[in-house]
């Protein structure tokens, strides 16, 4: 028996609202998991296209779960052949106004090392770590997203940290 929903996902206003609400979150998931080289913006929009194709079958309150499930299941064949590429945003840290050339160089090298190190994490380590630390997502939420236990997420974040520590130990740092 089809439910008569007043507002459904096919409705243009509703769909635009859903896009506004969740596009960043879906994008974040793909970006943190696969990096830039796999065009996460396009993949995010692919997920929304899939939602649009299935708009009759997905209730508005299920849209978020549907989008993230599609994102999670995207078989990116290119992943196997390409290395994950990370780029830092080149933001100057807030505390410093004048830096010596040496510091600037060390900072640059550190960030480049950091990029490489992030590329060395597994997808799940990286997405767990970044969603938790950058986007403030709780362990439980990430666990549900990835379909694993809360403890597994905690372990992955810890492992990610250890790998970063390992990779970045050699760099000269100034505080």
């Amino acid at each position: 028996m089809p439910k008569k929903i007043q507002e459904n996902v096919c409705d243009k206003r509703m769909f635009s609202l859903i896009y506004k609400k969740y596009s960043q979150e879906v994008y974040n998931f793909l970006y943190y998991r696969y990096g830039e080289s796999l065009n996460p913006a396009d993949r995010m929009q692919d997920a929304f296209v899939k939602l649009l194709s299935n708009c009759k079958k997905v209730a508005p309150e299920k849209a978020k779960a549907f989008l993230l499930s599609v994102a999670k299941n995207m078989v990116l064949n290119e992943v196997k052949h390409q290395k994950v590429v990370w780029k830092h945003q080149n933001q100057k840290p807030k505390n410093y106004t004048h830096e010596s050339p040496e510091f600037e160089l060390e900072q640059k090298e550190f960030l480049e090392g950091y990029e490489k190190a992030l590329g060395k994490l597994t997808e799940d380590q990286r997405v767990s770590f970044l969603l938790n630390k950058l986007e403030g997502k709780k362990h439980a939420e990430i666990a549900e997203l990835l379909g694993v236990t809360r403890k597994a997420v905690e372990n992955r974040i810890y492992k990610a940290y250890k790998i970063l520590q390992n990779e970045l130990e050699g760099f000269k740092l100034q505080k």
Binding site: M1, P2, K4, N8, C10, D11, K12, R13, F15, S16, Y19, K20, S23, Q24, Y27, N28, Y31, Y32, P40, A41, M44, Q45, D46, F48, V49, L52, S53, N54, C55, K56, K57, N73, W86, H88, Q89, N90, Q91, P93, F110, L111, Y114, E115, L118, L130, K133, L134, G147, E154, I157, Y158, Y161, L164, Q165, L168, E169, L173, K175
Partner: protein, 306 residues
């Protein structure tokens, strides 16, 4: 792996004031602080400014053959108006007729996929299944090839055939579920009428009935759901041989089940959810006086309770 507990707590922001002081005295503190501080250099850019929702509609219109954007009117069942769809299909592209290779969609263990056919019929493919059809033949003849299990919502129009390895099912605008796994074949009709070809005989199923063939034995029964359980992430079985139940469990969770001294021919009535392996295993083993051990993430043993 022995964990550095202090570090773990610091990562989780769970240090007491004293613990924090102790942590800050450590040699590696600077490194960890730098890792934390520079993390925001890798924050994902704001995507709303770069990509708008109109691009999604563009991609959608390019991909499917519809040139209409979804509108605000209450949709009763617009996918039933095959006439309009046919005109659109004919008008859309000659490019459709250039492609003669069949479209094939496959799912792996634990995966489900929803597919829109050229006439707006919808197919939901269950795990470890395969669906094939040829786009450019669609106007003349609606026919798909199925391996495994799928739920169909067919728009009204000409006859629609589902061909599995061993059977053919013919429908005209209905909702039904087809399942063929090894020696087990089952069709459930939720709406409309379904004609199932079995050898030289044909069986007509009406809404609310199902037909099951196992080891060349056929059984007709009533069903009370309005759609298969697996679409809502549960699998339900009514007098289904245990071997088939366990195989479906393997498909949903991508694991291998090894049984020892278990009668796999016995019939099982019950169900399991797709989201929690422990719960799913309990649902199956407890009613049958069986026990299980999860040996690894991909292997489970099932054996009788002593």
């Amino acid at each position: 792996m022995r964990k550095d507990e202090l570090l773990n707590k610091w990562i989780k922001d769970e240090l007491t004031a004293e613990e924090l002081k102790a942590f800050q005295q450590r040699d590696d503190y600077n490194l960890h602080a730098s890792i934390k501080e520079n993390l925001n250099q890798f924050k994902a850019p704001e995507i709303g400014k770069i990509r708008g929702v109109s691009e999604v509609y563009e991609k959608f219109n390019k991909g499917t053959k519809s040139i209409q954007e979804p509108n605000n009117k209450n949709e009763v069942r617009t996918w039933l108006s095959v006439a309009a769809t046919v005109i659109v299909l004919l008008g859309i592209s000659l490019y459709l007729f250039l492609s003669t290779t069949p479209t094939t969609i496959k799912t792996i263990a634990g995966e489900k996929n929803t597919i829109s056919l050229p006439d707006s019929s919808v197919v939901v493919l269950n795990a470890k299944s395969k669906l094939s059809f040829t786009k450019n033949e669609w106007l003349q003849k609606r026919q798909v090839f199925l391996e495994g299990e799928a739920y169909f919502k067919v728009s009204k129009g000409s006859t629609f055939d589902v061909t599995t390895n061993n059977h053919t099912i013919t429908v005209v605008g209905t909702e039904f579920n087809v399942k063929e796994r090894n020696d087990f074949f089952e069709v459930k009709c939720f709406e409309g009428k379904v004609k199932v070809q079995l050898g030289n005989n044909a069986r007509l199923l009406t809404a609310g009935t199902s037909i099951k063939v196992y080891h060349r034995q056929m059984k007709l029964s009533d069903i009370h759901e309005d759609q298969p359980g697996w679409i809502g992430d549960t699998s339900n079985f009514k007098s289904v041989p245990l071997i088939e139940v366990l195989e479906e469990l393997e498909r949903q969770y991508s694991i291998k089940i090894i049984t020892k001294s278990v009668k796999t021919d016995q019939l099982f009535t019950g169900g399991f959810i797709h989201k929690n392996l422990d719960s799913a295993l309990k649902s199956i083993t407890l009613p049958l006086d069986l026990n299980y051990t999860i040996v690894s993430t991909s292997k489970v043993n099932i054996f009788p309770k002593k």
